[in-house]
Point group: C2
Chain length 217, copies 2
Amino acid sequence: MSNELKGLLVVISAPSGTGKTTLTHMLLKEFPNMEFSVSYTTRPPRPGEVNGKDYYFVDRETFERMVEEGDFLEWAEVYGNLYGTSKSQVLKALNEGKDIILDIDTQGALQVKKNFPEAVLIFVLPPSLSELERRLRRRGTDDEETIERRLKVAREEIKRAPLYDYIVVNDVLEVAFENLKSIIRAEKCKTERLAEQFEKVVKDPEIVTLLKGGRNE
Amino acid sequence: MSNELKGLLVVISAPSGTGKTTLTHMLLKEFPNMEFSVSYTTRPPRPGEVNGKDYYFVDRETFERMVEEGDFLEWAEVYGNLYGTSKSQVLKALNEGKDIILDIDTQGALQVKKNFPEAVLIFVLPPSLSELERRLRRRGTDDEETIERRLKVAREEIKRAPLYDYIVVNDVLEVAFENLKSIIRAEKCKTERLAEQFEKVVKDPEIVTLLKGGRNE
């Protein structure tokens, strides 16, 4: 166990094409203490994928037992495969002072918030749907049908953005990144997060005593 | 009336000697949209002080009528003079999209929070009381008695820090400043602040409609 301030659980969602992956990698570079959460899945590993790095590969029986035991912060079935975020693993990392970032869809994000209200939910919006469409086309990886489907899903996801704690518009990448960084820094200064661990941010025992005493007055 | 996002009311408190004035000036430089609130006072103007810039100088009768009419976000009597922050004036500036910063003591700050819960309260802590004492002595402006009094008041103020929204430790000035900036930026991304004014941050009317529709589902 480290003496670090308890870590933050940050959940980022955004419609495909909004720039979420780029922004997440920028955050991981900015905060050396931040890690991606490794998900569990029943999908068989693809060539080159490493157990414990890309995913934890488990059989359906193991996964379903974990569901029953409530060990998932969120889980979902996608095209017949199960995917989930382990609660015990995330909590262990947070207690060690690591910040964990989850890159999941709105349904998963809202499950996380329900199971772990301290999680910080950030929705990244594209500046407009027409700009999102342009970005998807420019990427050149999707056919027409896939682009149409992504735009339809984007509309559904955007409807749930108001349920998130923060909304960041990714119009100019640097501005969006500045806002994401600020959210993470600011969350670490929130009194409600610090209240149980004042001794970790304040070195002076007398100040810690005053802070703790003040709360009970 | 501008089309700016409604401004933030930021309240900063800190024991004398913590570096609050330096930090506040850095913030005003960083955020061109941010202004100091000009207080009302019954104290007579000192040579060089300008009405409407340093203070609004009013007589006791006017001040007391304002108190009765509930026009102060906070007010106090100090050494026989009345000082107060005008609610209507602050609200007008916020509605014009200006961010307002108040540099007041803990009693005033908690009055503001009570009268205007959207205010963002930030308490700046010194790294230790011994460091605070060193800084007060180094400043060389106070005699021994004043320093002792300031340290006593500091202890009382620190006890109320847990009632603030955020706590920032001013150990290294640049780090404290980075945290203050982040708090202000992050607050502007909070969904609860954006919810009534999505059209001001999102230019695409379709996304605005989706965001507004999502809230009522």
